[in-house]
């Protein structure tokens, strides 16, 4: 890969590229691979067992084992016992139901399908800005757009909202973008946050929002979850805490899942969601 004997003249770039390719090819051939296993033997055995169930890969076997253990563990947690029975999937977010109990939903002003879920004690609100300081992957909006392979859309509603004050890109089986707007009246509070979650983060779970209802964003199915609740990723060690004591609107557009945390009403949150636009240069 050395740059010795750099050619001079009009064809220097082409020659340098050819030299680099030559060196790359030569060095790549030196890579040590593990010994190739007896794939043919395994495949032929698999074919001979055509009548039997297909063999399970090691990773799949481990995954099934872990899922079984998780499932068994959850059964010991009373709220989770019901949650295992039913859940709502919206994009990559999965909201587990607990035992239904009646509770009065606030601010419902458009038709929607409502699903009651168990109300649980809400953790005491904690200072929010320190949470932001602990979030990894902070960068500029421009840097975030370069870091992810999907367009970052920003709400144009409310008109005075402007660009997010804090931007984070985090690895969560795909690069997830978190946009945060700080309350200008209360600089220690988060006004609104928007998560853009790419495919793959299939196991983001929410437990026990006070109310979950179905609605729509731009004609696409969406979920409105009322009341603060912990949010976490089950498929890795990331632990997300909500950024505001508000509600959450979740919807999808193509492969992306959007998650808007806001203290706004559903009607206002829908306006925000439907106002998303590409970043203006």
């Amino acid at each position: 890969m050395n740059e010795r004997n750099k050619p001079q003249g009009g064809h220097r770039d082409v020659l340098q590229q050819e030299l680099f390719e030559k060196q790359l090819h030569s060095l790549a051939q030196e890579l040590n691979y593990p010994r190739t296993p007896n794939i043919a033997g395994s495949v032929m055995t698999g074919l001979r067992r055509a009548a039997a169930p297909r063999f399970i890969s090691r990773r799949l076997a481990w995954s099934l084992t872990i899922i079984l253990i998780l499932f068994s563990s959850l059964m010991f947690i009373p709220p989770a016992r019901a949650a295992i029975i039913e859940f709502i999937q919206i994009g990559v977010v999965r909201i587990f139901h607990a035992e239904p109990t009646p509770s009065a939903p606030p601010d419902q002003d458009i038709p929607s399908t409502k699903v009651q879920v168990t109300a649980t004690s809400i953790p005491t609100s904690q200072p929010l800005i320190p949470i932001l300081e602990n979030l990894a992957g902070e960068m500029t909006l421009e840097g975030a757009q370069k870091a992810v392979n999907y367009p970052i859309l920003l709400p144009s509603y409310p008109p005075a909202l402007g660009q997010p004050d804090r931007i984070f890109v985090q690895e969560a089986e795909g690069k997830m973008t978190i946009l945060v707007w700080i309350d200008p009246q209360k600089p220690d509070k988060v006004l609104m946050s928007l998560h853009l979650i790419p495919p793959g983060s299939w196991a983001i779970d929410k437990f026990d929002p006070r109310l979950v209802e179905e609605t729509s964003v731009n004609g696409q199915r969406a979920i409105w979850a009322v009341g603060p609740y912990p949010l976490r990723l089950r498929n890795n060690d990331l632990q997300f805490t909500r950024l505001i004591d508000g509600h959450v609107l979740i919807w999808t557009d193509g492969d992306l899942t959007y998650r808007l945390e806001t203290g706004l009403t559903l009607k206002e949150a829908l306006k925000v969601a439907e106002s998303l636009q590409p970043i203006k240069p």
Partner: protein, 193 residues
């Protein structure tokens, strides 16, 4: 029996005709899977799955075409799906490589071409998956431009332009994070890297 004859027999359900084909291509399929996933157990799983899927779809395969690009295409897709589920782990690895550039001192202690090749692989792993695929196929597995185009189902001209861009990015990564690979070494003329 030539490859196309074996494929025709296998497509008619003759498993004994499939075995020599698996033997002929298992190394390339396993190696590509290993390059993309970095784990030999995962690579073995993907290689097995590749040949089973190919067997199940042989009737639809054009026997006038070479088998290897098709198999590598299946393996590449399967590996990409597997990578998504392991994406976070791989990303962590990528970050680790970026955060800890290879020191010249540690390399000098183990200055072999194998180690340099290993660092080259680490450098390639920091590229995007499409860039990795094309670099692995062309330079690590030594496929021709035409074969690479066949695997990726793109035009040969597109292979060349994508390779050119991928190499530009790789060169930048090597210069920034793997300076030891960019340093001149004694006796590294000509084909040496």
């Amino acid at each position: 029996m030539d490859e196309s004859t074996l494929i025709r027999h296998a497509a008619n359900g003759d498993a004994t005709a499939w075995e020599p084909l698996v033997l002929a291509h298992q190394e390339a399929v396993f190696r590509l899977s290993y390059l993309l996933l970095g784990d030999p157990d995962d690579a073995e799983d993907i290689a097995q799955e590749t040949f089973l899927r190919a067997w199940n779809h042989l009737k639809r395969f054009d026997t006038t075409r070479p088998l290897r690009p098709w198999l590598l295409s299946i393996a590449s897709n399967l590996a990409s799906n597997r990578r998504r589920s392991a994406g976070r782990y791989l990303s962590a690895l990528t970050r680790a490589f970026r955060n800890e550039p290879v020191s010249s001192a540690s390399i000098e202690e183990r200055s072999t071409r194998h180690m340099e090749a290993s660092h080259l692989w680490k450098a390639v792993q920091t590229l995007s998956v499409p860039d990795q695929q094309i670099v692995y196929l062309r330079y690590f597995l030594d496929l021709s431009v035409a074969e690479t185009a066949e695997v990726l189902k793109i035009a040969e001209g597109t292979v060349k332009s994508r390779l050119s861009r991928a190499l530009d990015r790789l060169r930048g990564i090597i210069q920034q994070d793997f300076p030891v690979l960019a340093e001149p070494r004694d006796g590294s003329e000509g084909n040496d890297a």
